[in-house]
């Protein structure tokens, strides 16, 4: 391994710390400096790196250790500010009888890692029931939060979206969810059912709810596979950490994956964790997903997240096909093509494109691209055309 390549280092660290039987020699980092540690901090991996150094898996010079300690300290200062904000939000939601579940960052840090200091986070993700979403947003506004992005059209987020980011004056972002993921899978997952399978989470003695261990694995896989392309290392780390939790009910996970059309998603996430880019060990029960052959519709939906279709409007197309009623499909398409002026102004202000013409150019380019794509197959993370199975192709060599 080239020790100067942070990605190679992360894979080696993952193998050494998440695969107890790997029997690796201690990892030494010679001559790497600040940029290397900035990469780790940028990917929020400084916590697991410190833990590896404390356990002797990672051998650092005093200077390297000081850099790592400093970046973790900064990350934890922010995480604690977020947790303190969580407690004030929790108090407000509880007072107003708004049920909520703490997702991702704090939930995973306090449940799936040996020490919450190993798992930094930069925002707060809360899931509320769709019926409570407006009340929850109002409660956040009472606490000084402002919604970051206007809706493309009134009611669009609740009908087709998954969450809205609200930020308080200190810059703490709260992603208020009524679905756990955007797009077709968000529409297929029964978010209300997630409230039936929660576990307690105590932060500073305050009683909160998180997804139970099975739900944590499911959500970690969803986030890893669908959140970013390619999957971010921290999300893969979460999959590995949650998969080893003692109270994961694997039969229930298979059942939920089948009901919510997530078999390909879990297959992809587990395959990515075991694959050569990461290489961590997973419980044998995860092998049950290796043999799944998701239906074509599900495979196509997944490819809209994990292939280059993602940046070409593939998710919007996949979402449209997952919307049950024709009238709603039309409403969705029209809103995407002609969102409100406030929404477009916001897009312009973020430098993320605020032109109607540019917006319309994307679907107009689809016929040309479809023609080109028919002559070449997708590679990265795409389904195997023979089996229909998903996952980084090389991961099957280890299977």
């Amino acid at each position: 391994m080239d020790d100067h390549d942070p990605r190679g280092f992360v894979a080696r660290l993952a193998r050494a710390t998440l695969s107890p039987d790997a029997g690796c020699d201690p990892i030494r980092l010679d001559e790497v400096g600040r940029p290397f540690f900035e990469y780790l901090a940028g990917h929020q991996l400084d916590g697991v790196a410190v833990a590896a150094a404390d356990s002797g898996i990672l051998v650092l010079s005093d200077r390297q250790r000081a850099l790592l300690d400093r970046s973790l300290r900064d990350a934890m200062v922010w995480a604690l500010a977020i947790e303190r904000r969580l407690l004030s939000i929790a108090q407000r939601f509880d007072d107003q009888k708004i049920e909520f579940i703490v997702l991702k960052g704090p939930a995973v840090a306090h449940s799936a890692y040996a020490d919450p200091a190993q798992r930094p986070f930069r925002d707060l993700d809360l899931l509320v029931r769709a019926r409570d979403w407006d009340r929850a947003r109002a409660a956040l506004e009472q606490l000084g939060f402002e919604r970051e992005r206007p809706e493309p059209r009134r009611g669009f987020e609740l009908r087709f979206g998954n969450a809205a980011v609200h930020t308080d004056p200190t810059g703490i972002p709260v992603d208020l969810h009524h679905r756990i993921v955007l797009g077709p899978f968000g529409l297929w997952i029964d978010s209300d059912a997630l409230f039936d399978t929660t576990a307690s989470l105590h932060i500073a003695g305050y009683p909160l709810r998180r997804l139970d261990d099975t739900g944590l694995v499911l959500h970690a896989c969803v986030h890893a596979a669908l959140g970013w392309r390619p999957p971010l290392p921290l999300t893969l780390w979460d999959v590995a950490q949650t998969a080893w939790l003692p109270e994961v009910r694997w039969a229930q996970l298979e059942d939920l994956a089948g009901r919510w059309r997530l078999e390909g998603v879990l297959q992809f996430a587990f395959g990515s964790v075991r694959g050569p880019g990461f290489g961590a060990a997973l419980p044998p029960e995860t092998r049950a997903f290796d043999g799944a052959t998701p239906p074509r519709r599900e495979r196509k939906a997944l490819s809209s997240y994990v292939t280059s279709r993602r940046t070409r409007g593939g998710m919007s197309l996949a979402t449209m096909s997952a919307i049950p009623r024709i009238r709603d499909r039309v409403r969705y398409a029209v809103t995407l093509l002609i969102p409100s002026r406030a929404f477009m102004e916001w897009r312009r202000s973020t430098g993320d494109g605020g032109s109607y013409v540019r917006r319309w150019a994307l679907p107009l380019s689809w016929p040309r691209r479809r023609d080109a794509n028919s002559r070449r197959s997708e590679v990265t993370g795409a389904s195997d055309p023979q089996t229909g199975r998903f996952g980084p192709p090389i991961s099957r060599q280890h299977g």
């Binding site: 410190v50 404390d54 300690d69 973790l72 300290r73 934890m76 200062v77 995480a79 604690l80 500010a81 947790e83 303190r84 407690l87 020490d115 919450p116 200091a117 200190t170 932060i203 500073a204």
Partner: protein, 82 residues
């Protein structure tokens, strides 16, 4: 209150404030001892044991630390009589 124990320090998110307090050295040790120690006297005794020093010598410093944590809202004082 939310806190994190790191290799060389303890971070605590002070209530009703935007500050996160960094405790190092004996202050960090004291915070960790406070997870199970409830009286000022027993805290000073535990710190004395941890640093192998007479309790009498560190009592003023220990009391100053406790007073500072109470002032920050990181600790709640409970006065017991009798």
């Amino acid at each position: 209150m939310p806190h994190r124990r790191l290799a060389d320090c303890v971070l605590i998110a002070l209530p009703g404030s935007e500050d996160v307090r960094l405790l190092t050295g004996a202050a960090a040790t004291a915070w960790l001892l406070l997870e199970r120690t409830v009286t000022a006297r027993s805290l000073v005794a535990a710190l004395a044991r941890a640093y192998a020093t007479p309790a009498k010598g560190i009592r003023p410093e220990g009391e100053r630390l406790i007073a500072a944590l109470i002032k920050d809202g990181a600790l709640e004082e409970e006065v017991r009589r009798g």
